[in-house]
């Protein structure tokens, strides 16, 4: 292997290398880290954020983002619990539909009414948080059916948790959609240059609405995963989800200015964040300090991203 190829690998796979480095250190300092139980625990922890991260990646490639994902996820969990009376299946379907509609509305606000994605999704975040508080009457509500537990706590082949299987399947599916379909290619075009994309006859508004609806749909799906584990909902759940998803996707190298990135890269970023969280817990870092570290990390990552974009523009 010559030097140039080596450098290229370091540049392109830096996130994977960092994950490996952290894993190596932790395996020595805290051997429990490499137990199968802990590793699958990490994968489970990141399954929710990576499912939402798929939608966020679609949005960011199209140069948008969504601050309402955490609220939307809990919204789905709440709706599913409240409608369980008319059957678990109906509750789940209604929940995913409700979240998809919320995402769709975000898309309409941004693409049709031309409200910027910050203000529309921030409003949606507060709106859905309020709706959850109203629906739960500010309490923690619990589901009556625990049929979902066999999904939430069950394992495929006795080892791989079902939520991880679901996340993996969705990741592969949407990675293919992004990389192999016209829709995916058009999305990159919109993110790179919206005006040019429009001149080429790409339905920019339609694509944006699709990306927001997809994000809503995936929030719904992760809300159900949450339900399968906790069997409860409250207005205080999912507060950190926005930060975790956006930081993870950005960490994976998806640029805020749009037009680049892939599902696989986004997943690497989210996995790194999951490994870091797990490491901080194993090293007994207090939750407050974890919050500080996560915030600083997001700032650092975006600074580097913007710095590289600026440097590239002047090259």
């Amino acid at each position: 292997m010559n030097g140039r190829r080596f450098r290229a690998i370091i540049r392109d796979q830096k996130i994977l290398l960092i994950i490996l480095a952290i894993a190596l250190v932790l395996a020595v300092v805290r051997p429990v880290f490499i137990s199968a139980e802990n590793l699958f625990n990490i994968l489970f922890q990141v399954s929710i954020t990576s499912i939402i991260g798929i939608g966020m990646t679609f949005l960011m490639i199209g140069a948008d983002f969504d601050l309402s994902v955490g609220s939307n996820m809990v919204f789905a969990t709440t709706v599913a619990i409240l409608l369980q009376g008319s059957g678990l299946g109906a509750g789940i379907a209604a929940a995913i539909l409700a979240s998809t509609v919320a995402g769709f509305l975000n898309g309409v606000f941004v693409a049709k009414l031309r409200i910027n994605s910050f203000i529309s999704t921030l409003s949606m975040m507060i709106f859905l948080r309020g709706l959850v508080l109203i629906l739960t009457n500010k309490q923690t509500i619990s589901g009556s059916s625990d049929a979902l537990f066999s999904f939430g706590y069950g394992n495929l082949f006795g080892v791989i948790p079902y939520p991880v299987v679901l996340a993996a399947a969705l990741l592969v599916l949407f990675a293919l959609v992004l990389a192999r379909t016209v829709l995916g290619r058009n999305l990159y075009a919109v993110g790179c240059n919206e005006k040019a994309a429009r001149m080429f006859g790409i339905d920019v508004a339609g694509l944006k609405i699709f990306a927001f609806s997809l994000t809503g749909f995936l929030c719904g799906a992760s809300g159900i995963v949450l339900l399968s584990r906790l069997n409860s909902a409250s207005g205080t759940y999912g507060i950190d989800t926005n930060l975790d998803v956006i930081s993870g996707v950005l960490l994976g190298g998806i640029s805020l200015s749009g037009g680049e990135g892939s599902i696989f890269k986004a997943f690497q970023g989210i996995l790194l964040l999951g490994v870091l969280s797990n490491a901080m817990i194993l090293l007994h870092v207090t939750p407050y300090l974890q919050q500080v570290i996560k915030g600083l990390m997001l700032m650092t990552v975006v600074s580097l991203d913007s710095y590289q974009a600026k440097a590239a523009a002047f090259r």
Partner: protein, 326 residues
Amino acid sequence: MKLQNLLRREAILAVFIVLFVICSFFVPSFFTARNLINILKQSAIIGLVVAGLTITVIAGNVDLSVGSVVSFAAVIALTYTHADLSQTNISMTAQEGRPLLALAFSLPFLMGAAVGLINGLIISRFQANSVIITLGALSAVRGGALLVAGGKVIYGVKNPVFAALGQAQLFTIPVYVFIFVAACIVLELLLRRTSFGRYVYLIGANLKAAIIAGVPVARVQILTFVISGLMAAFAALILVARLNTASGLIGNGWEFDAVTAVVIGGTSLLGGRGSVIKSFQGAILVTMIINAMVLLNIPSSYQYVAKALIILTAVLIDIRTRREAA
């Protein structure tokens, strides 16, 4: 035609007057001296945050860390008037409390300015997205506040000078309401009468043009973030003096309330347009609506929904009027 123009320019004021009249007639005990002073009191403290944030927004950015800065500043301020008391275990006179009072007053401002400086440096130097950068700062600073307060609620402002900041009254109106009005006037003059103010509008309206025109863009942008940090710290001091408590959780969600007031006042999130006086009106309008909801016994959960709808409506009206104007 003239009336139409006036209405367009002063839309927020018109909405305010209409709502005010409706509330006075239909909301019980709304139109009483006590309640009207209440509205002023409630809008004054967050109003300081709104006034500072307005300048950042006119320059084309947004600062989501203000709510966290409020809580961190409050925790620091209370810790530093409190710590000494627990050591000496005697009631402190204003004289004895002076050195610590100086710390309690200056450290929050230093912290607010530092957070603004870091936000501003990153955003101006790297042209980074201010929403995401300050979202990171929101989390980090809130974590800092929780760390310092140890997750607990701390209480007891025992220093009389500090307490007066929140308790003293003039003509039955709290002194901090006057401070709020004065701060708005000072910041408005800063925007209208100084070259800094002109630069803020120019940068917000057209960043490229500002760079080409030789405006010190980075310095002005950094200063706008420092101002929003300082104003958040200022609000925190008054909040602590008034509530007599602080914790890592107060000021939670203030960033959204402040952005709502700014947007409703008519300051565009795209930058280049707006004023502190308009945001002042926006802050009072939002407080008045929430106040009426409380008087009508509408549960607080619905306030979230109402706020979200108010802000969306305001933005839509803004877009519509701008399209008509163009």
